[in-house]
Amino acid sequence: MGIASLSALDETQVAAVRAEHPGAFGGIGHQIRRWAPWAIALVYVIGSLWYFEIWKLADASERVWDLLRNFVVWRDMADWQYANIYKGIAQTLAMAFLGTLMGTIGALFVGFLAARNVMRIPLLRHVVRRFLDILRGVDQLVWGLVFVRAVGLGPLAGVLAIFVSDLGTLSKLYSEAIENIDRKQVEGIRSTGAGPLAIIRYGYIPQVLPVFISQSLYFLESNTRSATILGIVGAGGIGMIIIERFRASLYDQVAFVVLNVLVLIFAIDWLSKRIRLWLIGVRHD
């Protein structure tokens, strides 16, 4: 082979190489296989957006501007009932705290019931697990709606919604942590002749407690975030204030509240990151 140059290649040489290495050139089938997924995705997105009536976006311009203006131009800021807003934020935090606490306490019991190495009766264990599946399968917001219907508007419904969905998720996580423990330590306790409760207290708890605590702290964080929207279905907290003022067309106030919520969410993210770092640091020394 001599000096190679792309421009010096003539058609017969290209054809010769192609005959020798047909795979490297890719036939029609290869082309179709390569482009078809993209074409399908594109056609699908355009088609589905059409089905969802995308043109409504164009018709909406007037209201969009109206809304955006209201979001930016804030009027009569003196009568915005700030106490009400911050009470709502406090309520959100309280809901998250109580809900997580109750969920944690509940999961402490249910988690053991669902763990294979603690609960020796398969039937009971399966019943508990399916029950947890149901709690998890239904979204927190749906629980919120259901509890609003059952116990009325207000934070109680929110706390219950957080409690129920946390119970489902935390119990599962806890039971997994329990199943993953070191069996030798438990046998050590059992060999001393301890009863079942003592075995759990000294054999299981010391091993799983750090996992439990970190999981619950993480859930406290994520619940504070989700509690802000529980109010949209009437389950108390800041979300309820947002939806009330939205319905009353007080968009500038809505913008203000949403801004507060965003600050709250970012603050919680930041704080929980710090706490986790601090906890890890403490555990090291």
Partner: protein, 313 residues
Amino acid sequence: MSDIIMMGGSAGATGDAPHDAVHAFERHRAELRASKRVWNILLLAGFAICLGLSIYISQFYPDRLASGVPRIFEYFGTIIPDLQWDLLFEGRTEEGRAVPGSLTYWYTDFWDYVGLIFETILMAITATLLGTFFAFILSFSASANLAPSRWAYWISRRVFELSRGIPEILLALVFVFMIGIGPLAGVLAIAIHTTGALGKLFSEVNENASSRPIEGITAVGGTWAEKMAYGVVPQVAPNFFSYAMLRFEINVRASSIIGFVGAGGIGQELNRVISFYSDDRVLAVLILVVLTVTVIDLISERIRHGFIGKENF
């Protein structure tokens, strides 16, 4: 004796330690406890204050709970369908009426629900595709190692943070107001949230990509876009795909509830039956929703595992 047991429980096997070790351990433990006692008291006090405040603020008093809990069970009693074994599979009568106690009666509006669930899944797919697309486009400039310039990095980071910071249901509320009730509002809200959530994950994947292929493409004279397309994308594509599929599962859940604010899908029906009826329709819709979410999860898991298996091969 009990201390030895605790030691065994928390510090592992120390069975054959010399006798002295027990005393040393005891002393050490006493010191530790003394220094930690202050912290424990402070923590406990802080916890008690939080608890008290929370109970006060959310008016979570025992009497309210006591009056509330029975109502919960009462409510759950009303949504249980009144099915009768002998009539369970009874069809419609000649006048086209379903027999009370039969499945047909319970699921009178079955085909309406199926239509709405279909719409819910379509919403999730569209929103995931749109969100993935925008997250993909922006993720390269949001990666510290790939960003073409400082301001592009800053802007794309802020776009991601903002679009995942706002809860999607709030976005949906705003969109419903802007463009009216219907699935489009939900799709847009979920797509925006997906952009933010996936964008963060994608840019983290990008930041872990090996720089060698990128350097190789730089050295052949490739533009920034070519460096991304040839040097980065082949490395990160499998991870992007997994994350997008996981997000799709989350989005199916989201689109099944986003209808609470009128943004389309089965959620709208769910909201309607829960808020306005206290009957077995609630459970009928709920069961369908949970079933849908579970089935989608299973399918998506299959696809992800199949895909990863193929990639590794």
